[in-house]
Homo-oligomer: 205 residues x 4
């Protein structure tokens, strides 16, 4: 295989990219300066050594403190008693954009799909979550399971509930909550699906 | 204007129908049997005399009891203490499809948009709502304001709250509720807007 | 079945209309004046007696001459030697909009699909086309087969070529032509399919 | 700016990629093996030295002959008398996919838009085209201008016609042709725009 094809193969692995776009990316790089490509190549080469996960929450950040913590985990003004478990980094971005949540985060690193096998726990940061809780058992009072409102998200929440049963037995004050379901902003009642309507009725106030 | 054009003009008034589709509908009727068109013509001619609104909830139904009530309003098994106010008939259909709500309905007949003038109340069934409540003041304990999650829906809910203040003063047990907001079924957290996320956080359990 | 449902059933037969839109149309008519509905009902009832096909080209027109001809067929300024056969009325509209063609038309009334049976000729105006040609054998020199660029359109063109073989034998000057294929306006070469490209190459000038 | 942001900035320059996808690409690379990223980085670094344009047609190819020619330009079985000028490499791919054209190519490297200034010729391979023709004046008999069917494509064709006027004067047998316009495969006559219809009528046979 030749260089152009090899490069296209790499781009085909990018999320959401098909053959036509992969080829476009390769052609695009052919029109860029050599210095721009050199710069991009260096960023890609050094990415995994320069961008490391925060040892508490798991978010990938370019800059960490001496203790290898990210800016949110080091922020003493955040509410230490609430921990929100999300699937990935971009979920943290979405929550932060709402400017409402003042607690801490934990990036689970993936979901536990409905048809998961017994190795499911290794593909996500299950052990790291237990370790973090073990260290903070007195501080954390609420764990918000903030996964997407779909079967895999629901199953992941159930998985974590089972995972953390022992912690709840050790600390009866520890509650696990789920983000509320209901009508999303802008939605018309006429087009809402039965499940959303059921939740919206339950959550009425 | 000729017949074909006049017919197209009528179809242009149908919701969501543009010139191309309006013309298509006319051409379609030219390919139908004369008896099918006769039947359609009769249904349209007699529509407003045959399909009358239920005198309580306002839904358009083909069949009403002797008291001019629809099947839901006559159903004694429904919860008489809860009244859900919706914008239009199709909202009732959506709620019923969820098979969760067992109370009664009131079709408001429209919304009160943000830029409404003082005649806004006449374009919706404001007086009929007050009259219905006046007749059922002891029975009704909860009024669920079930409008779409957008500015006009929110404003309509506010309008009704003001409208029904006097009833709440007369009957302190009467509560007004709103359908819960939050993540709709199938939505991914990553793409949820800040408002929806804020509501989902508030409604967590 | 009740009136509202019967009406919805009729609207479900309209081209491209599903259950939700059919119901919307019915609700829309409930909000219209009784006089508007009366007017629509009358137009639909009298449609097939008022809007008759032109006896030459078959187009549905509201106004015909005493000889039951449409305005295009009566227009002596049109080129009598060229006859364009199209699938339906709306194709005539599309061709006329280009303001280029000065000949006459014949609406075939449908296509002859690839999997058509021996009754295919009865579902389209095959006999009427032969009759029209028989009457105008000296006048018509070119018949343009103007069908859509898809398998059914191609098959219909082939069907007509076979149908009119005898006329070509009687009149060697009679030619049958097809609309040219190639790049359509606005299309980018990069996305053109192989067939279109082959035709575009053949038709280059 | 930190590494992750710098990398996202590079991806933002990729054609058709917005902030969300750019960030996704960066996160994707964080989940890849270091060896995969090393490989990608090397391919990007060496791209412009490894993938060079063919000195005749200008296509970017990984493998060139000793004379720096691509496989099409070296192929003696191709028709040396026909040269097709296209906008970019991907157009060659589209034409080759049709398996119809047996001539040679020239990649113009861009278009000459309607509002181009006098430097327009430098942004495309105008000089290279003239040089190639000068070398092959007896061999080339037809130049097919194969640009997209839009205003910029049309203008580019006109620009090249002017550019090559002198060659046509030197060699009266040299003809310039354009790809045929008309109905593209699968299109329905009813929806064809007036220009396409006009061309289809002109190109009928």
């Amino acid at each position: 295989m030749h260089t152009l094809d090899e490069l296209v193969q790499h781009f085909l692995r990018f999320p959401g990219i098909g053959p036509r776009q992969a080829r476009r990316f390769a052609m695009h790089l052919l029109t860029e300066d050599e210095s721009a490509n050199e710069s991009l190549a260096n960023l890609i080469r050094s990415l995994k050594t320069t961008v490391r996960p925060c040892v508490h929450c798991g978010r990938y950040v370019s800059y960490r403190t001496r203790e290898d913590l990210c800016s949110i985990c080091t922020d003493t003004h955040r509410d230490q008693s609430t921990l929100m478990v999300v699937e990935r980094d971009t979920d943290v971005t979405a929550i932060e954009r709402a400017r409402t949540y003042r607690g801490k985060y934990f990036v689970f690193g993936g979901t536990v799909p409905l048809l998961a096998d017994e190795n499911a726990g290794k593909k996500v940061r299950a052990s790291a979550l237990k370790a973090l809780l073990a260290q903070n058992l007195e501080t954390v009072h609420e764990i918000i399971l903030a996964f997407s409102a779909n079967p895999d998200g629901d199953n992941t929440a159930r998985y974590i509930e089972t995972l953390l049963k022992e912690f709840q037995e050790q600390n009866p004050e520890l509650t696990l909550t789920h983000l509320g379901r209901g009508l999303s902003t802008g939605s018309e009642l006429e087009y809402a699906d039965p499940d959303t309507i059921s939740f919206a009725l339950q959550n009425r106030k």
